[in-house]
Amino acid sequence: MSTIVAGRRLSPPQWTDVLAGAALLALLAVGASTERFLTVANVKAILTSASLIGIAGLGLTLIVIGGTSVSLAISQSVAVSAMVFLAVQSAGLVVALVATIVVGALITGLQGLVVGYGAANPIVLTIAAGFALTGLATGIGGGTSVSPTGTGYTVLNATPGGIPLSVYALVLLTVALQAVLDRSAFGRQLYLTGENRPAARAAGLPVGRVVMVAWVLAGALFAVAAAFSGAFNTSANINLGGTLTFDAIAAVLAGGTPIAGGKGSAWRTLAGVLLIATVSDILLLRGYGTGAQIMVKGLIVLAVIVVVHLRTTRGRR
């Protein structure tokens, strides 16, 4: 430890930044030297493949900032919301969207209620919620997949200006969420609650409500991802979420939002999801197999976690 401390003092602290900068430059250099990387189509592809994970990641960001660890039921929440979205298509797109967001907000908000007011452990609770959602969805629907009952959903697959709607949604939602975090009373209280919950409680902050609202908003964001996902796949069952839970966690962490809470931003999550999407894309373009793609994703997340940690703890004990 002492050598690290000394090192930090000697070559003034920025060595982690230099490292991060160098890594980013190297990434871009590798990208630029990869055939077809710097094409409009490829940039669009990166954005597109980042969009759904990104939107779900924004939701998770709220949960993490609030100091309530992570949700391990993102995949299931998204799948169930998507099933609702397709099942109520006959009522028209707007109604379907509203219903999906309400259901999504309810599913995750209910968990937030217990985490917020009951101080329940979010990891255990969301594992339980994952089981419950899978059980209920298969018990009620018999396990078959839901097909759309109308065609309104196709609007979500539109590509204004050649870019999928989900990318616009990601950007808009990032900006909106950042504004909420920076400017609203809720945002300030969320950061404080996340940093030190007992202190927030003793200060009389509405800890329960703040946490619950964060989870409700997270659920609404999961539902938005679900609507796009349902529209994109045109059918949905409980497995639709795939590996979304871990993808979203990886994106938030790769953005450098610490899991301990009290810190983080929507921008970071956007950066994280783009970083992972870009690297996956480069590896795919260069012809690496699935294994290598996954492995490099893990290494990147690891590197970012370490660098961000070193940066934020610099000069502190």
Partner: protein, 495 residues
């Protein structure tokens, strides 16, 4: 015959020089005090001597042999035992387990019976006769935990025992146990370094005193040659102006307790609290004094009885309801239950008034800034300190930020302060007292508890004494400390 000798020790943190060129020499069998204002660098010296941090420069020698203390373990091997400024025991372990934790003489095997026997003896030495070794530490109060930590340090076969503000959370009676135990290890030839803001105990307990100011040693002299005022002058370079003791006009009853109790903590309590008055709730550890404050703040789920604020009935056991009714609470544990250490001082001053600074759920940036500077000025923070993470301030300044957040706040009607000057130096203490008086002058009802008799006498308009969960008596006039002490320790009204 110096046991440990320190030459030119220095240490900086990210630009802040905490300790510069400190020379210090402690003899075997001596109790050596280290004094200084908040942020003077005392704890930094302690961390360097106990192996928690490595110095940037300087040398440490034990018995004339230079040592390098890179880890706690190194220091322990060199014979250094420590009571840290921060309470450092593990609540989830038993008392006996805590007493052997990290002790390098404890063997690799768990011998429960022997451990419990030894624990019994160590506890008895510090007056903890009612505490059982197999009890979990979590079931003890804050002060008892502190005593367990002291027992652990004193029980290790050390050459140098360092105690960093060991009595800050203790009442005078428990402190006496500590003094006796410290004297007996010193008599056995051990060197003791004793850090404290309680200047009285410094002068009566210690043999020599080293005073630090702004990271450097000002003087080292025999305790016998010092008085409290001279010590203060060394520490601060000047004498603080004690805030004039003006009794504010008592106003209406703002807070009324009828038959309030917390099972196992304190019984049926009825009380009327008036605006503009400073009340002290005085009691030993476990007397329930702290619990009254915590309960009123909504932090005791089991609290029963009726509480009204401004005539309106308060939902008990709900901190949000308490805050909304205008009750502001400052816990005695400002690190884990008080401040947001990574946030700026400014944010910490504003945490309780976010809704008031917002319109339609949005925070008004300009009003935020204005309020921030107004409060900073009131609490005496220079503008440049507002942006610093509050965790980097010295203890006294942290305490000021903590108390400051409840001041000058339109909604505050009752201010509850649990040990408001814990670990604060004389200067800071005067400042906090001034802040409290200001609040009372503006019509806020203040209820505080303290472990220090002097503070009870200095600050309170009305003193309530408690013993074993019961109210013993109420003093509306100035009262001698000895009377209070008798009531707190015997439960009966003196005389």
């Amino acid at each position: 015959m110096s046991l440990i000798r320190v030459d030119g020790l220095s240490k900086s943190y990210a630009g802040t020089v905490a300790v510069r060129g400190v020379d210090l020499e402690i003899r075997a069998g001596e109790i050596h005090a280290l004094c200084g204002h908040n942020g003077a660098g005392k704890s930094t010296v302690v961390r360097l001597l106990s192996g928690q941090e490595s110095p940037d420069g300087g040398a440490i020698a034990i018995d004339g042999v230079p040592v390098e203390l890179k880890t706690r373990r190194d220091a322990q091997t060199a014979g250094v035992a420590l009571v840290d400024q921060e309470l450092s025991v593990v609540p989830s372990l038993t008392v006996a387990e805590n007493l052997v934790l990290g002790d390098r003489d404890a063997g690799w095997l768990n011998r429960r019976r022997a451990q419990h026997r030894r624990a019994r003896r160590m506890l008895d030495d510090l007056g903890l006769t009612h505490v059982r070794p197999e009890q979990r530490l979590a079931t003890l109060g804050l002060g008892e935990r502190q005593l367990v930590e002291i027992a652990r340090a004193l029980g290790q076969r050390a050459r140098l025992v360092i105690l960093d503000e060991p009595t800050a959370t203790l009442t005078d009676v428990e402190s006496e146990h500590v003094y006796a135990a410290v004297r007996s290890v010193a008599a056995a030839g051990c060197a003791v370094l004793f850090v404290s803001h309680r200047l009285g105990e410094v002068l009566t307990l210690c043999d020599r005193v080293t005073v630090m100011r702004d990271g450097a040693v000002v003087t080292t002299s025999d305790a016998a040659a010092l008085t409290v005022p001279t010590l203060i002058r060394h520490m601060l370079g000047e004498s603080p102006q004690a805030a004039p003791r003006v009794r504010a006009e008592s106003g209406e009853t703002v807070l009324e307790l009828t038959g309030v109790s917390v099972p196992g903590r304190f019984g049926e309590l009825s009380l009327q609290v008036r605006a503009g008055t400073v009340y002290a709730v005085a009691g030993q550890l476990g007397s329930g004094a702290s619990d009254v404050l915590r309960g009123l703040a909504g932090l005791h789920p089991a609290m029963a009885g009726e509480v009204t604020v401004g005539g309106a009935r308060l939902r008990t056991a709900d901190p949000v309801a308490a805050a909304r009714a205008g009750i502001a609470f400052a816990s005695n544990d400002r690190k884990s239950e008080g401040l947001f250490l990574d946030r700026s001082t400014g944010v910490n001053l504003l945490v309780t008034r976010i809704p008031a600074l917002s319109r339609f759920g949005l925070v008004g940036t300009r009003r935020w800034k204005e309020t921030e500077s107004r409060l900073a000025e009131r609490c005496g923070f220079p503008a440049h300190q507002l942006a610093r993470p509050v965790g980097q301030l010295s203890g006294g300044n942290q305490q000021k930020a903590f108390v400051g957040r409840s001041l000058d706040r339109p909604g505050t009607r009752v201010l509850l302060l649990d040990d408001p000057t814990r670990g604060v130096d004389v200067g800071g203490r005067a400042a906090v007292h001034a802040l409290v008086r200001d609040a009372a002058a503006q019509g806020v009802a203040v209820v505080f508890s303290s472990t220090e008799l002097d503070e009870l006498v200095d600050l309170a308009d009305v003193v309530l004494t408690m013993y074993q969960g019961r109210l013993v008596s109420r003093h509306d006039e100035a009262v001698p400390g000895a009377v209070l002490l008798h009531e707190m320790t015997h439960g009966a009204e003196a005389g």
